[in-house]
């Protein structure tokens, strides 16, 4: 491999270099006292540079295939015609260490285009990095393995940072970055044919004032619009801190021929991360963990379709992360904690071997313009466990596997119809033929050693299927700015084909190897979902999402029981939704104190009313939803439900949709029950309001029949299930549990729900015959004044 730079025919490389002996000159005030304190002796040199450098192209070649970084420029960030100021003071101390104290002011490093030699007409877009730096680097002889290496101590502060990505005149950038880093005792050694970098202790803090978006081509790395002077819209800001230990190995050789190999192990000793929206935060605190990258290769190569690409292929990646506390909202209340362990590695799913690779290419969405990013992606999550801890109660979703392959495109787009495709303001993430899936083996409660149980259906309460396979097309565009001020605005159009999702799922591996996963499946699924102007904001209460308009069609070709592909079918189901002004709020904290099975506000009054008083703690999650079901606009924008059976067989052996008999609930909509604002249309502002408070909590589970259960644990009908780590199956049954036993009841999800609506109507219910056409059987249904409350606990079947 080799690297070359090609300057313009009239290169403009302006370097003003001044070498001068160190004196107590006025300009020396720019080096801070702290930096000076680490230097012994008063000898050395100072280099002062005003630097502007441009190159048409920097190229990297690997096995004859190249990648070009075009429009390379180093200079001033605030004025492209000016230079960036550099001041470097070089000193050698009496321990033979080389000390560099440096100051960089207002520098921009930029690439206008990144292209692959094999696809010169396509660009990945441009990148720029603005910053001012002040810091110190000390280098001394001797690495970790002996005298042939080097040891570094480094500390620097970056201010006024800006990191931007630009395509077709639109850009998204991190604005007002402040970064403080201290890395001491970093060693660099050559071990055999490997460059070994050890960073035993690196600490730092960072703050990103805003993540901004611009659709004005005249703006380039500016916080304010150059025309209006208004501040550019912001997605919000970030901040955090980290304390890590890292070990990295670099060696020559790609996945094939030339290239680069990277191995890395990083331990996160402590960290925290905050997303800040108008001063209110989503905070991940008490983060610890590690990850280990094994055999990551970098090649300029081709992807599986023969397209030129910069390939990143991975041998394996394993790790574990724990977030001790997730806080949300102005008051900083806690949702609880999460822990995830994972292994990304080659694995066979559905008879096909999946690996982990990303092939970066230029172009993005073909209609969005010449610049953009295309990621031909394949992943293989061989195994992961995901756990949630709520007030010390831990539930583990065990044996998560995921696989997929397809193209992901990235463009910064503006609100326009271009080349026949509708685009929106923001960062557009597109999906093209992404064939993917995931599945969860089962549930464990308490710890990883607990026996595997069913119960992954509990995830349905949070909107996740226990298993799902699909082909995905469409996009999600993330715009800057929420309902007010900072935040996110989402527009999306998603299409899922050939989907198979489990409503109920048995394990895919009961301990004896992979088996066909049984369940209740929505299969042969085609799903279209559209969202317009959905704002996402962190509020004082939590996370608020409001969608101006959304509509979807879920066409379940077959609802199957048993095997997802061959199980017998209940027929076809089609569910259409159309909502305007619907919203959802996620609030930290679950149900708190609850009287289950009675009415009472204290333990005594609840017990007196025949209920059971439960104190579910401060953590947990509450989801508040308001669904405004709008009246039908056309055949695609309406709320309806259809069930079709007795379909005719098609030529391919399948069934022809629409050829059978259908039961249709047509035009379902909400209302406030009258036209109170006298605009000639019934008001529709209340909708269906549902509050779900979800906690992980202990619950009473009783045996339903005499004799041993499915795991062979004996017990009588009516005996209570008690968790017991000393028992072979992890639990036992007790006819008269003691007070201590009651402290070890099984964990599950406890849901307190309330759903209300003023009026819900169905315009008509039809029976549709394939020959005779529709016949209306019900000319209108009107439901009024409903307030339904439920306290439910859901646990795996004993």
């Amino acid at each position: 491999m080799h690297v070359c730079a090609r300057n313009k025919p009239t290169p403009r490389l302006l370097c003003l270099v001044a070498l001068m002996p160190m004196t107590a000159g006025a300009e020396m005030k720019s080096l801070d006292d702290q930096a000076l304190a680490g230097i012994s002796g008063q000898s050395g040199i100072t280099l002062e540079l005003d630097l502007q450098m441009e190159a048409d192209r920097l190229s990297y070649f690997d096995d004859g295939q190249g990648i070009h970084l075009e429009g390379f420029r180093v200079g001033s960030a605030s004025d492209p015609s000016e230079q960036a100021f550099h001041l470097v003071r070089v000193d050698i101390t009496d321990d033979a260490a080389l000390n560099l104290d440096y100051l960089v002011e207002d520098r921009r490093i930029e690439f206008g285009d990144i292209r692959l030699a094999g696809a010169p007409g396509l660009s990945m877009g441009g990148l720029y990095f603005d910053h001012s730096l002040e810091g110190r680097l000390s280098i001394r002889a001797g690495g970790a393995t002996g005298g042939s290496g080097y040891t570094f101590d480094s500390a620097y502060t970056m201010t006024g940072g800006r990191l931007g990505y630009r395509t077709n005149g639109n850009e998204v950038f991190l604005d007002d970055i402040t970064l403080n880093v201290e890395a001491l005792g970093v060693t660099l050694d050559v071990v055999g044919d490997t460059l070994q970098l050890e960073a035993p202790h690196t600490v730092g803090t960072y703050e990103i004032g805003a993540i901004r978006y611009s659709n004005n081509p005249l703006n380039h790395g500016r916080s304010r619009d150059i025309v209006s002077g208004a501040e550019l819209p912001s997605y919000g800001g970030l901040s955090g801190a980290f304390d890590i230990t890292a070990s990295t190995s670099l060696s020559a050789g790609g996945r094939a021929g030339e290239g680069l190999r990277i191995d890395n192990e990083t331990v996160i000793n402590s960290a925290h991360f905050l997303y800040i929206d108008d001063g209110r935060a989503l905070a991940l605190r008490d983060i610890t963990g590690y990850y280990r990258v094994n055999d990551l290769r970098l090649d300029v190569t081709s992807d599986w379709h023969g397209r030129a690409a910069l390939g990143l292929t991975l041998g394996s990646l394993e790790g574990e992360f724990a977030v001790g506390d997730i806080q949300l909202g102005g008051a900083g209340r806690s949702l609880g904690g999460v822990n995830v362990s994972f292994l990304l590695e080659d694995q066979v799913f559905n008879g096909r071997t999946y690996s982990n690779a990303v092939y970066l290419q230029g172009g993005g969405h073909p209609d969005a313009g010449a610049q953009g990013l295309r990621l031909a992606t394949e992943w293989s999550l061989r195994l992961a466990d995901l756990s949630y801890v709520d007030d010390g109660n831990r539930v583990i979703f065990s044996g998560l596997q995921s696989w997929g392959r397809g193209d992901v495109t990235v463009n910064v787009t503006r609100d326009e119809t271009r080349n026949g495709t509708r685009f929106y303001d923001g960062l557009r993430i597109g999906f093209e033929g992404v064939e993917a899936g995931y599945r969860i083996n089962g549930l464990r409660v308490g710890d990883e050693e607990a026996p595997l149980q069913g119960g992954t259906e509990l995830l349905l309460a949070l909107g996740f299927y226990p298993a799902y396979e699909f082909t995905l097309d469409g996009h999600v565009t993330l715009g800057a700015g929420g309902a007010s001020g900072e935040g996110i605005t989402i527009n999306s159009d998603i299409r899922i084909r050939d989907g198979r999702a489990a409503l109920i799922a048995a394990p895919y591996d009961e301990g004896g190897g992979e088996i066909a996963q049984k369940g209740l499946w929505i299969s042969d699924l085609n799903y279209n979902a559209h969202i317009r102007d959905m704002t996402v904001d962190v509020s004082d209460d939590g996370l608020e999402m409001v969608a101006a308009e959304s509509w979807s069609t879920m066409d379940v070709g077959n609802l199957r029981v048993g095997d997802k592909a061959t199980g017998s079918s209940f027929g076809r189901f089609v569910v259409q939704t159309y909502e305007t002004g619907s919203s959802m709020t996620i609030v930290p904290g679950g149900a708190g104190d609850v009287c289950v099975g009675g009415a009472g506000t204290s333990a005594a009054s609840c017990s007196g009313a025949g209920g059971v008083w439960e104190q579910r703690g401060d953590e947990g999650i509450t989801i508040g939803m308001k669904q405004i079901l709008a009246r039908a606009v056309d055949d695609t924008r309406k709320n309806s439900f259809a069930w079709e059976t007795n379909r005719q067989p098609g030529g391919d052996g399948g069934l022809i949709n629409g050829s059978g008999t259908r039961l249709v609930l047509n035009d379902i909509y909400t209302s406030d029950g009258g036209d109170f604002d006298n605009d000639g249309v019934d008001d529709n502002t209340f909708g269906i309001r549902t509050d779900l408070a979800v906690d992980v909590y202990q619950t009473r589970v009783v045996k339903k029949s005499d004799g041993p259960d499915s795991l062979g644990v004996p017990g009588a009908r009516g005996d209570e299930k008690i968790m017991d780590a000393s028992a072979a199956a992890g639990y036992r049954y007790e006819s008269s549990p003691s007070a201590a036993d009651l402290e070890n009841r099984p964990l599950g999800f406890a849901v307190r729900a309330q759903s209300r609506f003023k009026e819900l109507s169905i315009n008509n219910v039809d029976l549709v015959h394939p020959v005779g056409g529709p016949q209306t059987v019900v000319y209108g249904v009107k439901m009024q004044n409903f307030d339904i409350k439920a306290n439910l606990t859901a646990t795996p079947i004993p």
């Binding site: 119960g455 029981v561 059976t645 379909r647 589970v701 029949s705 019900v778 209108g780 009024q784 307030d787």
Partner: protein
């Protein structure tokens, strides 16, 4: 029970089997254990809890609906439908009450044995709803009525209450409800 499952083996559009294992029917319990031994997979969930409808009233407050402490108004929910395009409305009015249950289970189960030999012939997957032993009803009530308009606040509203239903007590529901497809989907 055995005969019931045998009948379900015949083609019908939609099959459902309610297996009631009454305490006095000891032989039915034995059959259930036998069939359980053939279960593969341990997916599914176990649900307990209580559900109430309009315990204190609903979200509408007007001249017809109100809170439950206001005895001049109705605080229950209302469900109206009509079967003729220009006809009147059948109404379930003032719907209120609550019920509690323990141990409702839901899972997919493969049946290939038991049931007096019918299971081996059946050899299929079913959706099994394990019924809770006891469902307790408390002050469940509603009225059957006929009305000339869907909303009680519509002009010219008239309604004739036909009869009222009130329920309180416990219902024993033992056994399993087996649901499986039949016929041409």
């Amino acid at each position: 029970m055995i005969k019931t499952l045998g009948r379900l083996g015949r083609p019908i559009a939609f099959g459902a089997c309610l297996a009631l294992t009454l305490p006095s029917a000891a032989e039915l319990t034995r059959l259930d254990d036998e069939s359980l031994s053939a279960v593969s997979g341990q997916g599914g969930i176990y649900l307990s809890g209580d559900i109430s409808i309009n315990e204190m009233g609903g979200p509408v407050e007007n001249r017809y609906f109100g809170r439950c402490e206001d005895t001049t108004k109705k605080c229950g929910a209302r469900f109206a439908y009509r079967l003729k395009e220009t006809g009147g409305w059948m109404v379930l009015d003032d719907i209120r009450g609550n019920f509690a249950f323990e141990g409702l289970t839901l899972r997919v189960r493969h049946i290939d044995s038991g049931f007096g030999g019918d299971g081996e012939l059946f050899d299929r997957d079913v959706l099994e709803l394990g019924l809770p032993d006891i469902v307790r009803f408390n002050d469940v009530r509603f009225k059957i009525a006929a009305s000339n308009t869907p909303r009680p606040t519509d002009p010219g509203f008239q309604q004739t209450d036909i009869f009222s239903v009130q329920m309180r007590g416990a219902v024993i529901m033992e056994g399993n409800l087996l649901v499986f497809p039949e016929g041409n989907p």
